[in-house]
Each structure stands twice: as C-alpha cells, then as structure tokens.
C-alpha cells in the first residue's frame, strides 16, 4: 500500500448565501483505506461529498482525486464511484442488465464490460441473483447491487452515502463483507453514515464533522480511548419497567435510558466492580435486572459526547 493519498481535501470552504456549511475541512484518504465521515444532520457531510464528486465548486480550498480537480476534470471523476443513499437502479432490469448499463454509462465496453460484470457480481456476492429483476430483490441484495453498479469502471475511490439505510443485521454484515472485499482490492472507501456501529466495526479511520468543521479524526479505537480513557460502559437491562421511585433510583446511580428501550447505561471507570455493586443495590431495591453488561465504550458513546459538546457550545 502506498501512502500517497488518492483523495485530498485542503481547507474546503463553502457557503450557500450567507450560511457557511464548510469551514476549512482537511481530509486525506489513502489507497485501500476505509474512512467513515460522521456527524449530525447539517454538519456539512453532503456538501463535502458533493464537492468531492465534482458537483459543486467550493467557495474556498481545493479538492484533488489522483491529483486532479473533480469539478473541472472528467478523468478525476472517472476515478470515483458513487453509491447513492437511494437504490439508484432500474427496477425492471435484472442485476446483470443494471451492471451492464452502468458499466456502459461509465465507458466500459466489449470484453472489458463482460469481465467487469463478472467481477462486480463476485465482489458483491450477487451471482446467484444475476438474472433476477432488481425490483424482486430483498433490501440487502439491492444495496449490494447498488454498490456493484458503482464499481463497474474499477474506481480508485468509492463513496458510499448511508449504505445501510433500511437493511437488517444480516444484510448489514453482508454489506460490510462486500466493502472489506473492495478495500482488499485496493479501493479507497469513503462512507458517509449515521450507522455508528458499522463505522466502528469497519472504518480504519473516522472523522466527525460538526457545523462545517472536522472536530475529531482518527481510528475508532484511538478516539474512544482518547475520549473515555479507562471508562467502561455499564448496561443494565431491566426485566420490568421501573415505577417513578425506581426511575429516581436509576438516575441516582447515574444511569440513563437508552432511547425508548428498557436498557439503561452509564460510563464508569470502575468497570466490573461497579457493575457488581450496582447489581446488588438494584436487586435490593426490587428492580430485578435481567442482565448487566460491561463493555468498552463505542462510537455511539463518542457521538453522544460530541453531541453534548455541541449542545454546550
């Protein structure tokens, strides 16, 4: 693997009227690297991806793909493949016909086209469905074909916009495998996602955007260690819903409900020892925890922390 970045973004700035959406973002993506771009809505992710795809001219800064500006140079755009968030395929056409179509539209012809179709079918593990119309496929298969259509011209850089929207756990794991397979062939992958679990498990590096700025970047493990140090996440799964007194007790223990589930969690440097003491106190109070788990903090925790910082700012 060479260290020369396939994608370089220098001090990217952009504004729509008076509203600044990108405020000097730097980004570099090396060959064979998976990079996850994270951030809340309005952080500037879509604008940055639009600029990388050559669809908008930056107000300031530069972008280069293989050293060329994608806004002005077709050969730079030819080096990238975009997997849109939507299923950007033709429903009445089969998997193979879709791949052929997008291959032709990317300029692949003849024997090269046949080889590219076969390669895409293998890499996306859709060989068994090649003659099935896309509209008859499951959501997971459609997502994989969506990726296949973007790699027909062997792009050096693949951009995936929310690739796991609307897919179940099994399909997501299959997608992760496809993305890793692509990375192993030397393709650089930029994933824009809200799926922090996927980003944590898949990405070599992640970057957090907030209000047009990159506020954090690094490998998921390093970022989590940097943010949480020795802290562990303690997760309590209650058998029954606590009454109001029980909720006060949970809050007093520093536990917060995870979404609308019956799971409560907190970060604590005490780890397993704290979990043991917590178990005894909850049982004594009659709250009957079904399960208490202790694990390393995840990107989910980091994202919540970043959101807290954002609110505080």
């Amino acid at each position: 693997m060479t260290d020369r970045p396939i994608l370089n973004v220098w001090r990217a700035e952009h504004q729509y009227g008076p509203r600044k959406v990108l405020r000097g973002i730097d980004l570099a993506l090396r060959p064979g690297e998976i990079y996850a771009l994270l951030g809340p809505n309005g952080a500037g992710k879509s604008t940055l991806v639009g600029a990388i795809c050559g669809r908008l001219k930056l107000s300031g800064g530069e972008i280069a793909i293989n050293g060329e500006d994608p806004f002005t140079t077709a050969s730079a755009r030819a080096s990238l493949g975009l997997v849109p968030q939507e299923i950007a395929l033709y429903g009445h056409l089969t998997v193979r016909e879709n791949l052929e179509t997008f291959g032709r539209l990317a300029g692949v012809k003849g024997k090269g086209l046949r080889e590219a179709v076969q390669r895409a079918l293998l890499l996306t593990r859709t060989v068994d469905r090649e003659h099935v119309p896309v509209k008859q496929l499951s959501g997971g298969y459609k997502r994989r074909v969506n990726i296949g259509a973007a790699i027909m011209h062997r792009p050096a850089l693949l951009i995936l916009d929310e690739p796991t929207v609307g897919v179940d756990q099994d399909a997501r794991e299959a997608l992760d495998t496809v993305i890793r397979n692509l990375r192993d062939t030397g393709v650089s992958v930029l994933i824009v996602t809200h799926d922090l679990e996927q980003a944590g498990g898949l990405a070599d590096r992640v970057g957090f955007l907030r209000e047009g700025r990159k506020i954090m970047e690094g490998s998921p493990r390093a970022l989590i260690e940097q943010a949480f140090g020795e802290e562990m996440e303690i997760m309590v799964h209650l058998t029954l819903e606590p009454d109001s007194a029980g909720e006060i007790l949970m809050a007093g223990e520093g536990l917060e409900r995870v979404g609308r589930t019956s799971v409560w969690s907190k970060l604590d440097p005490g780890g397993y020892a704290t979990a043991g003491r917590l178990d005894k106190r909850l049982r004594k109070a009659g709250l009957d925890p079904r399960e208490i788990r202790v694990r390393q903090p995840s990107l989910q925790n980091l994202f919540a922390l970043v959101a807290d910082w954002s609110r505080a700012a």
């Binding site: 050559g54 669809r55 908008l56 755009r77 849109p84 950007a88 033709y90 179509t101 539209l105 300029g107």
Partner: protein, 395 residues
C-alpha cells in the same frame, strides 16, 4: 453510452406490459374513435334528429311531413304537436324541431324551426335539409311559391300563363325530377377527383400521431426526473460522462417509440380506411421521423427544465392539451375562428397535420411539405439543444 440509455428505456417499457400495451394499442384505438367521430361530423353524413309536428293539417303540410319523415338524410319523427316538439328540443332528445304551422304552398313563413342555442349549427342545417326534401318530394309547391313571390314584379300572369303553370305544377307533383338532376343553381366538382371520403381520415391519422407522439414522449421523458429522484442521476453525474449520453439515449428512444406508434396508427388507416400510406412511403417516413423528433425534443426540453415530477406533469399536460387544441388535433382547424387558425401555425401539430394531408390526401411532393419538415425538424433540434443546456445545470 447513448445506446445504454436507449436499451434501458426499451427494456423498461418492454417489461412493463401494461405501459407497452397502452403505448402501442391506445393510439390506433383513439385514431379509430376520432376518425369515426369527425368523419361523420365534418362530412356529408350528418343525420340530424328532428322532432316534427304538422299543426296546419293541409294537403301540402301533410306531404311535407311525410317527405321529411321519409328522408334518408334525416332522422325525423312526427311527434304530434308543437308543444311536444319544443319539449323534445329543450330536453336535448332532438337536435332541432320543426313545426309546420301553415300551408307550405300558400303562406309566408309556414315552417317554424325550433332550435337550442347550444346546437346552433342544427338550425341552418335543418333549413337546408327541408329545402332539399321539398325540392325532391314536392317541387310543385316550390314552383308555386316562387311564382307567387315573383309574378307581381312582372305585372302578374296572364290566364294562358297561369294555365301553363298549373299544368307544369301538376306534372311535377305526379313525377318529381330525379334527386341528383342538376337543374338548380349549383353543380359540384370534388377537387381530389377519384378519392372519396379519406381526407378527414388522413387529417386525423396525422392529428392523433402528433398528439400521441408528444404525449408518450412526455411520459418517457419524465423518467429523467425519476432518475434524479432515485439517485441514478447522482451516480451518472459523479462519473466522467455526465448527462449528455442520457439525454441523447432518451431522445433516440422516444424517436423510435414515436415512429412505432405512427406505424400502428397509419397501418390502421391504410387497412381500414384505405389511406394510401404505402403509396407515399418515403415521404411519409421522413415526415414521421421529423414528427417524432419534434415531439421527443419538445418533451425532453420541458422535462429537463422542471425540477419535480409534479411540475413536469402539470406543465406537460398543459402543453399537450393547448398545443393539441390549437393545432387541430382535437377539432379540425377549418372550423376554428380565423385568428385561432393563424395561431395554430405556432404549433407543431398544425404543421404535422398539414404535411400528412399534403402527402396522403393531396398527393403533394416535397415542395408542399418542405416548410413543415423544416419547422418540425427545427423544433426537435431546438428542444434537444435546450435539454442539453438544461441538463448542464443539473450537477
């Protein structure tokens, strides 16, 4: 790349059997309906439904009533009374009414025509038909009326002249002249010689062809908006080729689709109505290709300038209906007010219809259609150019 998009459009249509049937079966069907409707409405076969009553009850009024009821060019019913005539016209069950209120041979204005203003054309047609019927069945009465009106201007008839006139009228009453004898003011010559009744059919074959070419082209071009919504356009725009091949591919497909639709329509016209398409095949083919190109270009231009499907659908419906109405795809242009006929030349429909009629009905050569070809080809090329221009804004 252009072929890739052409193939996508073709396969999508081929696999959507409902859309396929509607694309190629509806146009000939609508053509047949239009041809049947308008060949009756603008030709010589209009058969008015008349409600007739004889309130005079004289010998001649009875003859006129019988003549009208027996007239094959009318659907006249004796309804008994003037009140019944008015009631039937008011309710719309008769196109017009006719009350014979005095002896047709003696009185001034003996026949009252009852008409509904919403069917104003029925009144003059009824007058003409009554004159015709009288001329055929009771020419003696017409002669008597003419003599009564004109003789005073010449100082009246002498007894000898009155006797001759009486004998002539008796003879006419006993043996009316043949209906087709040319003894009146008019003789008739049809300019197209041996051709009979195909002019309206050729007109509507052209009218329905341009109507459906534009309608289907609009539907096909809407896929461009679907592609923007589904992310396909994002994917393509992120590549090196951009939207150019997509626009060209769709244009080529819509051109082919328009050609196939026209073949379906004109094949029906040739087989059922003997419109001589095969005899003019090269000229017809050039015209049809230009009509299809015109529709495809116009549709692509309109759709590429719209941002949403709703916008495009509203605009395309508006454009299709207005152009079809003004251009003569719905009602023959010669029935329109003069200013609207002039305005019609601003639509491709009028040029397309004119070109098809010139070729198929008037046996015209290139000299009679070159201007239509220029207009149709020009609109198609301008539409394609504008579509490319608009597509460059999509980034």
């Amino acid at each position: 790349m252009t072929f890739a998009m052409f193939r996508v459009m073709a396969l999508e249509l081929w696999r959507d059997r409902g859309a396929l049937v509607m694309t190629f079966l509806l146009p000939p069907l609508v053509f047949l309906i239009f041809a049947a409707v308008f060949s009756g409405a603008t030709g010589e076969d209009i058969k008015l439904k008349l409600a007739v009553a004889d309130e005079a009850r004289t010998v001649d009024s009875g003859r006129l009533l019988s003549a009208l009821v027996a007239d094959a060019d009318l659907r006249a019913d004796d309804v008994g009374s003037g009140e019944a005539v008015r009631r039937l016209v008011r309710s719309g069950r008769a196109d017009a009414g006719l009350i014979i209120r005095a002896d047709p041979g003696l009185e001034t204005r003996p026949v009252l025509i009852v008409s509904d203003p919403s069917r104003a054309v029925a009144a003059p047609l009824t007058m003409a038909r009554v004159q015709q019927a009288m001329g055929r069945a009771m020419p003696d009465v017409l002669v008597a009326r003419t003599l009564a009106e004109t003789a005073p201007a010449f100082g009246g008839l002498t007894p000898a002249q009155q006797a001759v006139a009486g004998r002539t009228m008796d003879a006419l009453a006993k043996a009316p002249p043949a209906a087709e004898s040319e003894t009146g003011l008019f003789a008739r010559e049809d300019i197209t010689g041996a051709k009979k009744g195909g002019g309206t059919i050729a007109y509507y074959a052209g009218a329905v062809t341009i109507l459906f070419a534009l309608f289907s082209a609009m539907q096909g071009a809407l896929s461009l908006i679907d592609e923007r919504r589904s992310g396909v356009a994002d994917r393509i725009l992120a590549g090196a080729a951009g939207m150019g091949p997509v626009i060209n591919g769709k244009f080529a497909f819509l051109l082919g689709q328009g050609l196939l639709q026209a073949i379906a329509i004109f094949a029906t016209a040739q087989v059922i109505y003997r419109v001589p398409v095969l005899a003019h095949l090269p000229m017809w083919l050039v015209t049809t290709l230009l009509v299809s190109a015109c529709a495809a270009g116009l549709a692509m231009a309109i759709v590429t300038f719209c941002k949403t499907r709703d916008q495009a659908q509203m605009l395309s419906t508006f454009v299709i209906l207005i152009l079809a109405a003004v251009g003569g795809s719905m009602v023959p242009r010669f029935l329109m007010p003069p200013w609207l006929q002039t305005l019609g030349w601003g639509t491709p429909h009028a040029w397309a219809i004119e070109a098809y009629q010139a070729i198929l009905w008037r046996d015209g050569g290139i000299g009679s259609v070159y201007m239509a070809w220029i207009v149709l080809g020009g609109v198609g090329a301008a539409g394609l150019f504008l579509a490319h221009l608009a597509a460059r804004r999509i980034r």
